[in-house]
């Protein structure tokens, strides 16, 4: 079936089954490899994209449910001021290890900062706990979110 979806401001028409998850449309139909497959169950967050600005697990979002919504992916997030700041903070603090989860982390972090300009450690926990990092770069993810928000990068939970 034919669907037209709006990704990073550009309409794309694809011919796929209606139950095909957005993730696989992005990756294999549109050849945008930035959003990652981690679990296919909405549990790891590697596939996180924004749908109308909301962090969404694309691996469990069928294409038929996307409609006319604005889809933003890691490939397009740098077009927004917040997304750009988050990417820059990730570079400045050298966050990645293997890097596989980081697209999803950046998408979740950008969604957080769009609604919480000065997030607390608790806000960060709430927004980021759905995104696994198997290399456990959580310390730097936390610091980079604060860096992007213009906050001191110290961890207020320090004993």
């Amino acid at each position: 079936m034919s669907y037209t979806i709006n990704v990073n401001g550009t309409p794309h028409t694809v011919d796929v089954d209606g139950d095909t998850p957005l993730l696989w449309v992005l990756r294999d139909t549109l050849d945008m490899k930035g959003s990652k497959f981690g679990c296919g169950m909405g549990l790891c967050g590697a596939c996180t994209v924004h749908i109308n600005g909301m962090a969404t697990r694309s691996c469990i979002t069928p294409i038929s449910a996307v409609g006319q919504a604005q889809v933003t992916t890691i490939e397009g997030i740098g077009q927004s001021d917040t997304g750009k700041k988050v990417q820059e903070a990730w570079l400045k603090l050298d966050v990645p290890q293997c890097g596989y989860c980081q697209a999803g982390q950046i998408m979740a972090a950008t969604a957080l900062l769009n609604t919480h300009h000065k997030p607390t450690d608790q806000d960060i926990d709430n927004a980021m706990t759905g995104n696994l990092c198997r290399c456990a770069t959580y310390t730097r993810i936390r610091a980079a979110i604060k860096q992007a928000a213009g906050l001191p990068t110290t961890d207020s939970r320090e004993v």
Binding site: K33, D94, Q97, A103, R134
Partner: protein, 779 residues
């Protein structure tokens, strides 16, 4: 891109030149590169004992004929291209090894480009990511490679200006003369390429105090691609006409397909082919972990989503085979039984353990166990393969491309040199991708399909078919004299075997600490036949043995009425003269290389002073014994030596009295990996990740075998998340030793430090992993 992360390099010993253990025999060749630049090729005979990655025991020994190589290419536009020879799995090696070359070359880092080297043993020698080998294996040769290239550029400049070489100096990719003349490396490269290369033995190396690249925090070279979502990983490979595949194996390890509803599945939308694959005879390499192609059903589709969805309709009749009789519960019961019997094998027997125990003032006894653990690479196993005209080309996220190449060749029945392996960045390694089973599957499916095929495992397939960290059972006994001195120690370790050999990564070193430090000591093992594949997982062996040995030693300290930190410092003070276990001919490094004070094939022998050094320093940094902690909060300490790294760690934990919930408040790490931290940003990241990885294992990770299959699916496999990630403070103690690797050694001590902290907080001893919080509730 530098980090703002604070870093502290402390300790009394000044950095010094590397130790002399690395061979200096070397050959250098140089040629003009395409486009008028210089291409420098270095080859150094590989160290004989360093040829096999840890965990890959029983591989045929390849002797010293294979070589280590590095390439530097300098273009006329001043671009310096450095080849990174080993796989990047998140350990940061693609950044740190080229930093070594660039430093001695005096390159301008802004002009350095890094390329992943092709897989070619003849040119690059050993190319694998395992055992934290990459830094110790390459530190010396790569410095000399960089220095040799620099010397040639200096010669070229001196000849151009008709001045002595001693009048020339280098800085940031330029040669400058005393008279103030200056030429860039790009301008000199063509002339330098015509010169004879210098003798690597005598080429002069920088004084470490002059380093401008080594020791500086440099962001991961691929970070800009990571944060913008550009293709990097195996799963991102794409090519014209590519098909997508899934492969379903029997839930029971070693089970075989009897029949499947092939025609029904083939009729589903988007499905192109369904292949029943039933390989004859053994398909792996002669190694416990190099498992090859297994029986299963391959579904090939025009999209991966459709192929994976078709699994819902796949019906297979399996012959489950003999492993279906194996279950974790039975192994636990059998281990208990074996613990009461004479051990199958005594690894070490020093002094008179029986006599000393019977004369002891106090006896401490405890039984410990730990489960099978899943690596859980976030990028599931995958490979993309093309089979054409008797040749196979494959793109894989592999830690072990050479073994993969051999396995793939064997699987599709072509010579090794008809296979080309491209290593992609790996979305996590942790030892899982030292096995090449997914490469064999992709290769066979591509051959059957006759078109390019990308094989991708779904998450539950990835969890239910891999090389697990083996579980194990330890039965300890210690004897203390009236003064609380540890005078006798014994461990009966009940582990697993496959047909008479310890299961991969399930062995125990005869040098395991406190061996050699306690006069009367016995280490013994018994084994149970296992049909579940096992393999190395980040700090193999050590990740389990650190938990049991360092926890039990904490029990001993408490029984002796001693401070646990001081107890460890005191224990490491009394080394008895005993040689490390000798490498066995035809085998990999001795098991002692993994920890416990055994020897390491390429490094200096274990030094108790370095253990004491990091222990004392972690005490200072954490405020050990000096801070008032509230009720329910406690601190624990542990030390472990593995992969040539000395790590002492303290964990502070708070346990909720109502439900026993464990909250890690903070971790302090002090590591000694020698004189130099090549890339502090990467090093700290590795330490913080390793500590949280270990805590993650301890808090929740467990694979249960039930009738020969894995009982869990992904939702039942909890990994540590942001809200559980404690702050981790990292310090390094610099000692005058050649630098060694970071991928593994920071992990093992964090688990016992955590469990020892729980004891300090609650008085309850964790002897079984993962931690059962229900037993930590206040009663």
């Amino acid at each position: 891109m530098s980090t703002t992360q604070p870093i502290e390099l402390s300790g009394a010993a000044p950095p010094s030149a590397a130790d002399e253990s690395v061979s200096r025999r070397a050959f250098l060749s140089v040629s003009a590169a395409a486009g008028g630049g210089m291409l420098l090729s270095l080859s150094i005979p590989r160290l004989a004992d360093a040829s096999v990655p840890l965990g890959l025991t029983d591989q045929p020994h390849q002797g010293s004929s294979a070589e280590i190589n590095a390439y530097v290419r300098i273009a006329a536009d001043n671009t310096v291209t450095i080849m990174s020879k080993v796989p990047e799995i998140g350990q940061g090696i693609k950044t740190s090894l080229p930093m070594i070359i660039a430093e001695e070359l005096d390159a301008d880092w802004d002009n350095v480009r890094i390329e992943q080297a092709p897989v070619d043993a003849k040119v690059y020698g050993a190319q694998f990511a395992g055992g934290s080998f990459s830094t110790p294996l390459n530190w010396e040769p790569l410095r000399r490679a960089g220095a040799a290239a620099r010397a040639m550029l200096v010669s070229a400049a001196a000849q151009t200006w008709h001045v002595p070489e001693s009048d020339c100096s280098t800085f940031l990719g330029k040669v400058t003369s005393k008279a103030g003349k200056s030429l860039t490396y790009g301008q000199l490269a063509a002339r330098a390429a015509k010169l004879a290369p210098p003798d690597l033995k005598t080429v002069s190396l920088k004084d470490p105090k002059d380093y401008t690249i080594i020791g500086k925090s440099i962001g991961g070279i691929d970070n800009p691609k990571v944060v913008t979502g550009q293709p990097l990983f195996g799963i991102d490979v794409s090519m014209e006409g590519m098909r997508y595949a899934v492969f379903q194996k029997c839930p029971v390890f070693g089970g075989k397909v009897v029949s499947a509803n092939v025609d029904e599945v083939k009729a589903l939308p988007g499905i192109l082919n369904v292949f029943v694959i039933n390989p004859e005879g053994p398909t792996g390499l002669p190694d416990g972990m190099a498992m090859g192609l297994q029986s299963g059903v391959a579904i090939v589709g025009s999209s991966w989503w459709q192929a994976n969805k078709a699994l819902d309709s796949l019906k297979v009749v399996w012959d489950e085979g003999p492993v279906a009789s194996q279950s974790s519960a039975d192994f636990a019961a059998r281990a208990q039984e074996l613990s009461t019997q004479a051990p199958h094998k005594v690894l070490r027997s020093d002094g008179d353990v029986k006599g000393a125990m019977s004369g002891a003032a106090k006896i401490v006894e405890a039984a410990y166990s730990y489960p099978f653990v899943y690596h859980c690479n976030l990028e599931p196993q995958n490979s993309t393969a093309v089979f054409k005209d008797g040749k196979l080309e494959i793109w894989s996220p592999t830690q072990n491309p050479a073994a993969g190449k051999t396995l793939v060749a064997k699987t599709v029945g072509i010579p090794d040199d008809a296979v080309t392996v491209h290593m992609t960045r790996c979305g996590g390694g942790f030892g899982r991708r030292l096995g090449s089973d997914f490469m064999a599957e992709a290769a066979m499916i591509a051959k059957l399909q006759g078109e390019p095929v990308k094989l991708l495992w779904n998450r539950n397939q990835d969890l239910q078919h891999e090389f697990y960290r083996p579980g194990g059972f330890h039965f300890f006994k210690a004897g203390l004299d009236a003064q609380g001195q540890l005078i006798a120690f014994s461990d009966h370790y009940v582990g697993y075997e496959n047909n008479g050999r310890a299961s991969n990564s399930a062995d125990l070193s005869a040098g395991e600490f406190p061996a050699k430090y306690v006069k009367n000591l016995e280490l013994a093992t018994s084994t149970m036949q296992l049909g579940v594949p096992t393999g190395p997982m980040r700090a193999p062996g050590s990740n389990a043995h650190a938990f049991v040995f360092q926890s039990f030693l904490d029990e001993v300290a408490h029984a002796a009425g001693k401070d646990p930190l001081q107890h460890l410092i005191d224990l490491y003070a009394e080394e008895r003269a005993a040689p490390p276990p000798a490498p066995q001919p035809g085998k990999g490094p001795p098991a002692g290389a993994r920890g416990g004070g055994g020897g390491f094939p390429m490094g200096p022998p274990f030094k108790a002073e370095r253990a004491q050094g990091v222990l004392k320093m972690v005490g200072e940094k954490s405020g050990w014994g000096k801070r008032q902690l509230p009720k329910g909060t406690g601190m624990g300490v542990a030390f472990y030596y593995s992969h040539l790294g000395y790590f002492a760690e303290v964990v502070q934990v708070t346990v909720a009295p109502t439900d026993g919930n464990v909250k890690v408040d903070k971790v302090w790490i002090v590591g000694d990996v020698g004189s130099t931290i090549i890339n502090p940003s990467g090093a700290i990241n590795q330490c913080q990740g390793a500590a949280l990885d270990g805590i993650s294992q301890a808090l929740g990770q467990k694979i249960t075998i039930d009738r020969g299959r894995v009982a869990q699916t992904f939702p039942q496999y909890p990994l540590l998340r942001m809200n559980q990630a404690a702050p981790v403070e990292v310090h390094f103690r610099s000692t005058p030793n050649s630098p060694t690797g970071f991928g593994e050694p920071a992990l093992p001590p964090v688990i016992p430090a955590l469990c020892n902290a729980i004891f300090a907080a609650t008085g309850k001893r964790v002897r079984h992993l993962p931690i059962d919080t229900s037993m930590l509730k206040s009663t």
